[in-house]
């Protein structure tokens, strides 16, 4: 029976080609879009973790409440002990201090007067410790455009775009004007040793990177850091593990009723996950819903098209179906055989769509697409080159709409079989 149906499909292309192409195109789009959205979200999560929040972050309670304003006056102090404890209690993660800060980068002329000045968004990271994970987390070497990485104290890296704007070269001196953690104005001289580009529009415009100990000195926060970030060693965000770890840490550092209202409690450390710290929580949920909606729309559109194709096919095969009924074939058997045909077409179209969709997604995974021009003024932590990401789910996602759409389309159009009157069949066939 199956061989009979397949022969029919192969020999009568008008019966199978259009539904096949519809399923193929729809599945291809679903497969590619799933991989693309997955890649974009993964890139955003990874960039946010690397450059902003870590997979988990530890900060003071007061800092956490105003984290978007980077309140360094509320920074953690005595971080060496805290980092040692974190490394001991949570050895699955790499722990490293960070200080985010803002300020102005002032370039002096030969008379020590201001030659050029621009606002900067600074990030102090551990660049000089031999065991620091930061160089690999930030892919520092890859980000260098001109010059070299920081190797000594009082050296900084600045965004390449910023360096061009200020007219500075590696080797030039610059003064960082910022605020100490006590609110005083702070002026510190640095040597620019290199320019960098991370390929993230939100960062590259005014980036400055310095060693954390230099910034502790500059901002009068010795032994302090705004945040201590934790990174899973496989560089993947494991939400369940992060949640469990955060719950454990916060339970161990919970405030007792006796502590309530006391000023010191503002500075009790608290741990939070990437999802909480990044503000991406709603966004990730939104994208999840959006992906499901896209698949739903494709499913519906394909089903309507295939329903229509089925109706057209039924009209064309009016005589054939009538003859089969006239020679005694059961209506349900005819209906089921049409459904079987549709499943065969759906399966074939889904396989072809998945294979080609995976091919396109693979190309996008390897080469990516440069969306830098539309991200120029974006504040999202999304790389300029967005790549697709193929997961196990990508291999199967196309089959759901591919099979269901053809099945529903045929099921709807085939109902007409039951409306045919057996007593009228020969009369219909004569005409």
């Amino acid at each position: 029976m199956i061989a009979f149906l397949l022969k029919g499909l192969m020999r009568d292309r008008s019966r199978s080609l259009f539904p096949f192409l519809t399923v193929f195109a729809g599945v291809l789009m679903v497969v590619f879009l799933q991989a693309w959205i997955n890649g974009a979200i993964s890139s955003m999560i990874q960039a946010t973790a690397h450059y902003r929040t870590g997979h988990v972050g530890v900060m003071t309670r007061a800092y956490a409440k105003e984290a978007d304003q980077v309140p360094n006056d509320l920074a953690l102090l005595g971080i060496d002990t805290l980092i040692a404890n974190l490394r001991h209690n949570y050895p699955d993660l790499l722990w490293t201090p960070r200080i985010m800060f803002g300020g102005l980068l002032d370039i002096p002329d030969e008379h020590h007067e201001t030659k050029a000045q621009a606002p900067v968004s600074g990030m102090a990271v551990d660049l000089l410790s031999s065991d620091s994970p930061e160089r690999s987390i930030l892919r520092m070497q890859d980000a260098i455009v001109r010059g070299r990485v920081v190797r000594n104290h009082e050296e900084i890296l600045v965004g390449d775009e910023l360096a061009n704007k200020l007219g500075v070269q590696p080797g030039d001196t610059a003064t960082l004007i910022s605020s100490t953690m006590y609110g005083s104005m702070s002026l510190t001289n640095f040597v620019i040793v290199g320019t960098i580009r991370f390929g993230i529009a939100a960062m590259d415009k005014g980036m400055l990177i310095a060693d954390v100990s230099d910034i502790q000195q500059a901002l009068d926060m010795r032994g302090g850091a705004g945040e201590i970030l934790g990174f899973f060693k496989d560089d993947l965000y494991h939400e369940d593990r992060a949640n469990a770890m955060t719950a454990r840490f916060n339970r161990e550092h919970a405030m007792t009723p006796a502590m309530e209202g006391k000023n010191d409690t503002l500075f009790v450390p608290v741990m939070a996950t990437l999802r909480t710290l990044s503000g991406l929580s709603d966004y990730i949920d939104y994208v999840g819903v959006f992906t499901r909606v896209i698949i739903g729309v494709f499913l519906l559109a394909m089903a309507v098209v295939l329903w229509n194709a089925g109706l057209t096919g039924s009209l064309r095969r009016y005589g054939e179906i009538g003859l089969r009924l006239a020679v005694g074939e059961d209506k349900t058997h005819v209906y089921v055989s049409l459904l079987a045909e549709s499943l065969a077409i759906g399966f074939t179209g889904s396989v072809a769509g998945t294979v080609i969709g995976l091919g396109v997604a693979y190309y996008a995974q390897v080469h990516g697409f440069d969306i830098g021009s539309i991200m120029r003024d974006s504040t999202m932590m999304l790389p300029n080159i967005v790549r697709a990401q193929i997961t196990t789910f990508t291999y199967f996602i196309g089959f759901l709409p591919g099979l269901l759409a053809t099945f529903f389309g045929t099921a709807m159009s085939g109902i007409g079989i039951y409306k045919r009157q057996t007593s009228e069949l020969f009369k219909e066939l004569e005409t």
Partner: protein
């Protein structure tokens, strides 16, 4: 009846003396009391931050209201930092970088040494009659002193505080309390004089508590430890060259 009318007419010139002067008249008197030709002031700021209390000491050489040179003496980190104000320009010199930076734009809004005062506050023309029109709204008693309460409304648009409410000592013409408001009516800063001192013919604030309402912490106490009026201010001090000396 005729006698009563004659008596009223006879007393009318003196009746004026017992009337409340206008807000602008009071403000002018305040300005006269505060204006000093030149002075050398050693002062302390005790800054009560969210985390700790710090004391910043400085010495200022001031000529008129538009020119001043300030050198910070303590704490060690700030020692040697200098500030120069010449009319509407302000420079900051940092000895550790050997850089002189002009404070302008949004830097003016930054706090001076982490206190509740901003550079913008320092740059403001202290002659209030130039900036505000005043009206008396009420009377009050502060620290045992009878005061007028004046509402000041900015005459210009580009002023840091659109309006102010000040408490003026009726006898000494010293401002004892001040509330500073944004154009929206939001209270931005308060100033409370805790102690005054008489120097020559001027009643000046000796101890003041400044509070930036938008900032956490318990405010900044400002103390004048010594003041010398009509001091001779060397010309070289009021120049940019003095910053790097």
């Amino acid at each position: 009846m005729i006698h009563s009318l004659a008596l009223l007419l006879a007393l009318s010139p003196f009746a004026f003396m017992f009337q409340t002067p206008s807000g602008d008249q009071i403000l002018k008197k305040v300005d006269e009391n505060m204006f000093l030709e030149s002075r050398i002031v050693t002062s302390r700021m005790v800054i009560h931050g969210r985390r700790e209390t710090r004391t910043v000491e400085s010495k200022s050489w001031q000529r008129g209201t538009n020119e001043s040179y300030t050198e910070f003496l303590a704490p060690a980190r700030e020692k040697g930092t200098k500030m120069l104000k010449l009319k509407d320009l302000l420079w900051d010199y940092s000895p550790s970088t050997d850089r002189t930076i002009m404070i302008s734009g949004h830097l003016l809004r930054q706090s001076v040494m982490g206190s509740d005062l901003s550079y913008e506050d320092m740059m403001e023309d202290p002659h209030l009659p130039n900036l505000y029109s005043a009206r008396v709204v009420s009377e009050d008693t502060l620290r045992g002193r009878n005061c007028w309460i004046l509402d000041l409304k900015a005459k210009k648009v580009d002023i840091a505080y659109d309006h102010r409410r000040i408490w003026v000592d009726k006898e000494r013409y010293t401002v004892l309390r001040e509330n500073l408001y944004a154009e929206s009516g939001k209270l931005l800063k308060t100033m409370d004089v805790r102690e005054v001192m008489k120097v020559q013919n001027h009643w000046l604030a000796k101890s003041v508590l400044y509070k930036d309402v938008l900032k956490e912490g318990d405010g900044t106490e400002f103390y004048i430890d010594s003041i010398m009026l009509d001091a001779n201010i060397p010309e070289y001090l009021l120049s940019k060259a003095a910053l790097r000396r």
